[in-house]
């Protein structure tokens, strides 16, 4: 298939970017979206042009490295998959595909379609962990956990931190990401010990980094490649409210 690609090119965060049109020919419908970009880049290198920079790593849909805002949707038109899992058969011959980087103030463009998602790491650093500093490896079944809670935690933990929720949100809010990282611990006994500090610190960091506010539009849930539920956002709101109400003043 032959396609027109309208790709965002930007040398780095300090310089202005613009859209550049590229034509690609004879693309197999069985090629993945990233393979199609590889084909374009190979040609650009041969022609002595600067190849299009984009993030990718495992190409198995599990690492969270790939991004791309394709025709108005993060990770393209398919539901519940990352960009690397999408194939060109989803597009029509002769179609124009607009490819943009994630757009959010806390995600500055590194180059072209690559954005810096360090902001997510900073949120995790603020409390997205369980501190266990002593003892040996405990037995997996030493603490009984209801199956439903384990499943909920696992669903939340399936977040790969790709940032599609921020990209999809009209407010560039990171609530789905943060709520998934809060929820995966909040429902488990191991996470309850630090639950109050965790939710307060992670929300404070999220706000400080300049992500937008949640307006319960739920575009995040619709676009999340791991189909994380917005019920986690409600859980985080609940956790935040109760922790603010009951926690003592910090010394």
């Amino acid at each position: 298939m032959d396609l027109t690609l309208k790709i965002w090119r930007q040398p780095d965060a300090s310089q202005k970017g613009r859209f550049v049109d590229y034509q690609v020919q004879n693309i197999s419908a069985d090629a993945s979206f990233l393979e199609m970009l590889d084909i374009l880049n190979e040609r650009l290198v041969i022609e002595g042009e600067d190849p299009v920079a984009f993030d990718h790593d495992c190409r198995e849909g599990i690492c969270g490295a790939c991004s791309l805002y394709i025709n108005g949707r993060p990770h393209g038109p398919d539901k519940g998959i990352t960009t690397c899992q999408m194939h060109m058969r989803r597009f029509k011959d002769g179609e124009t595909i607009v490819i943009e980087p994630w757009r959010a103030r806390p995600f500055p463009v590194i180059k072209d379609l690559m954005v810096d998602r360090t902001a997510f790491d900073e949120i995790i650093r603020a409390g997205g962990y369980v501190s266990i500093n002593t003892g040996g490896v405990p037995d997996a079944n030493a603490i009984p956990i209801p199956k439903r809670d384990a499943d909920t935690a696992m669903d939340a933990a399936s977040c790969i931190g790709c940032g599609a929720c921020v990209a999809a949100c009209k407010n560039a809010s990171a609530m789905l990401f943060v709520s998934a990282k809060v929820s995966q611990f909040a429902v488990l006994p191991q996470g309850k010990v630090e639950a109050r500090e965790r939710v307060q610190n992670m929300v404070a960091k999220m706000d400080e980094l300049g992500f937008g506010n949640c307006t319960n539009t739920y575009a995040c849930e619709a676009e999340c490649p791991k189909e994380i539920s917005v019920s986690h956002i409600a859980r985080m709101n609940r956790e935040f409210l109760s922790s603010k109400v009951v926690s003592e003043k910090t010394k």
């Binding site: 309208k6 965002w8 859209f19 805002y69 025709n71 108005g72 949707r73 993060p74 607009v98 943009e100 757009r103 959010a104 103030r105 806390p106 999809a168 009209k170 407010n171 560039a172 809010s173 609530m175 929300v203 404070a204 999220m206 706000d207 300049g210 992500f211 937008g212 506010n213 949640c214 307006t215 319960n216 539009t217 739920y218 575009a219 849930e221 619709a222 676009e223 917005v230 019920s231 956002i233 409600a234 859980r235 985080m236 709101n237 609940r238 956790e239 935040f240 409210l241 603010k244």
Partner: protein, 223 residues
């Protein structure tokens, strides 16, 4: 107080926003019930009686100030949240996203702004006149009241005003449709069993409230 309203956490603002919104919604229900009384009888006796009660009851008078506070809080927080949301995405997308599951959430600031304009006009037309202006009294068997009902009937005889009123109320309905379920989510009240009910109830409630408010000017205009 070193904290400005901007520095409160996003979730705290959303919680206050939702509580204020739900409070304002409860006010709308009371307002609609009293408004509907005007269609009850041609003499407007029941409506004028209710209006008299609302204007003289001590508890209602106190709540009037709570209501003002609720409005101001809801509007100011809404503006702050919206400004922060615009700032969070300095460069817009070329191709706009469309995957919203709650469509009217996109237009809360727009519907809200028009409702605010409506509120000011409404305030000038009714509240200030009722509170500070002179309104002709009318005498019934039950007593003499200010004929506030006549003020409404006169206004709704103006076709232009009816159109403006109906459009504003429709936008209020859209605002409520998103706002109602959104308030519960912001308060953390999301449950696999009850959330679908809350969403359905919110939509039915918004439609009912809108129809209720719209019926009054239409009935008066066409009769």
């Amino acid at each position: 107080m070193s904290k400005s309203a901007f520095s409160y956490s996003s979730i705290a603002k959303k919680i206050v926003m939702s509580l204020a919104g739900l409070f304002l919604t409860s006010f709308l229900v009371v307002h609609l019930i009293i408004n509907l009384l005007i269609l009850f009888d041609d003499s407007r006796e029941l409506f004028n009686q209710a209006a008299h009660f609302m204007a003289t009851n001590a508890l209602i008078q106190v709540f009037q100030y709570v209501l003002f506070f609720g409005f101001i809080l809801h509007i100011i927080l809404g503006l702050i949240l919206q400004i922060q949301n615009w700032v969070a995405r300095p460069i817009r997308y070329e191709k706009k996203g469309f995957s919203e599951l709650s469509y009217f959430s996109k237009f809360m600031i727009h519907t809200g702004a028009i409702i605010f304009i409506f509120l000011i006009i409404h305030f000038v037309n009714f509240f200030i006149k009722a509170k500070f202006g002179h309104i002709e009294p009318i005498t019934y068997a039950s007593g003499t009241y200010e004929d506030l009902g006549l003020l409404i009937v006169k206004l709704f005889e103006d076709g232009g005003y009816v159109i403006f009123y109906v459009i504003s109320i429709l936008l209020l309905g859209f605002h409520l449709d998103h706002g109602f379920q959104s308030a519960f989510q912001s308060l953390g009240l999301n449950h696999s069993r009850y959330t679908p009910f809350i969403k359905a109830f919110g939509t039915i409630f918004s439609i009912a409230l809108t129809l209720g408010f719209i019926t009054i000017p239409l009935v008066i205009y066409f009769s």
